[in-house]
Symmetry: C2
Subunit: 153 residues, 2 copies
């Protein structure tokens, strides 16, 4: 699973952040911008306390609420997703639209790939409908082994 983030992807992520914030009337402050950069640069899911360590080097507060609040903001803007199975955070690969995505996370290398799969969404929506269940916007997590790690065995 590819884990590098290209410079173009990082620029696109930050541009999406500017758009998302101006649309919602929120501010992309230096702290928020920096955290998003860190998540983009990681190129794979990264833990909150790891991000916190980087923030210290940049002169921001390194107390837990700093990073959790900021990540919450970025999630609300649809710029970052939380991966519950590993308590990590990853940059959204399609931050330009509201989506219901599917994220494949490799147990070996920690890499992640996000897809938007209309068919899956439709099928799950159908099940939800039968249950009278109202889904919230989210990404589903699929765990396993990526191609590279599988080949390396």
């Amino acid at each position: 699973m590819r884990q590098k983030t290209t410079a173009a992807e990082r620029r696109a992520g930050l541009a999406a952040a500017e758009r998302a914030c101006s649309r919602s009337g929120k501010k992309l402050t230096p702290l928020r911008r920096r955290v998003l950069e860190l998540v983009l640069n990681a190129g794979k899911p990264v833990g909150a306390y790891n991000l916190l360590k980087s923030l210290r080097a940049d002169g921001f507060s390194d107390a837990p609420p700093t990073i959790y609040r900021t990540l919450e903001f970025l999630q609300a803007q649809g710029l970052v997703h939380r991966i519950a199975k590993s308590n990590t955070f990853v940059a959204c690969s399609r931050p330009h639209d509201d989506h219901f995505g599917l994220i494949f996370v490799c147990r070996q290398c920690g890499g992640a790939v996000e897809l938007e799969e209309q068919q899956v969404i439709a099928d799950i929506g159908c099940c939800a409908g039968r249950l009278g269940f109202q889904m919230s916007r989210q990404v589903l997590e699929v765990e396993g082994t990526c191609r590279d790690c599988g080949a390396a065995l």
Copy 2:
């Protein structure tokens, strides 16, 4: 979302546990049996430390490793699922077969319904195939509001 577990469901869960253990050559010890009972009786996702409190009343050790080890065992037997989004555990609704399930969890009442949806599994398997990704057996979590809680708004 219905949260009661019927006596029949509890019996079925324990019977499935007997079968799963005899098939895998493991033992369904009093502790394991008791934890499974507790999860079945809860009828909805329940936290590890809640289970631990109940164990104390039964004379078992109430140190964290007790419950985490036991839950890990029950998960390996396919009798219990872990819901990552809420750090809780719930009894499997179809413990008789290996499955790739879909679990709908209500944010309001905490209830959960587990489905096995062949179409969803097939679609996700297809995506995984394109990525060269080998999925592990699991359940996907869908968060939202159940019918009852939605109606109560």
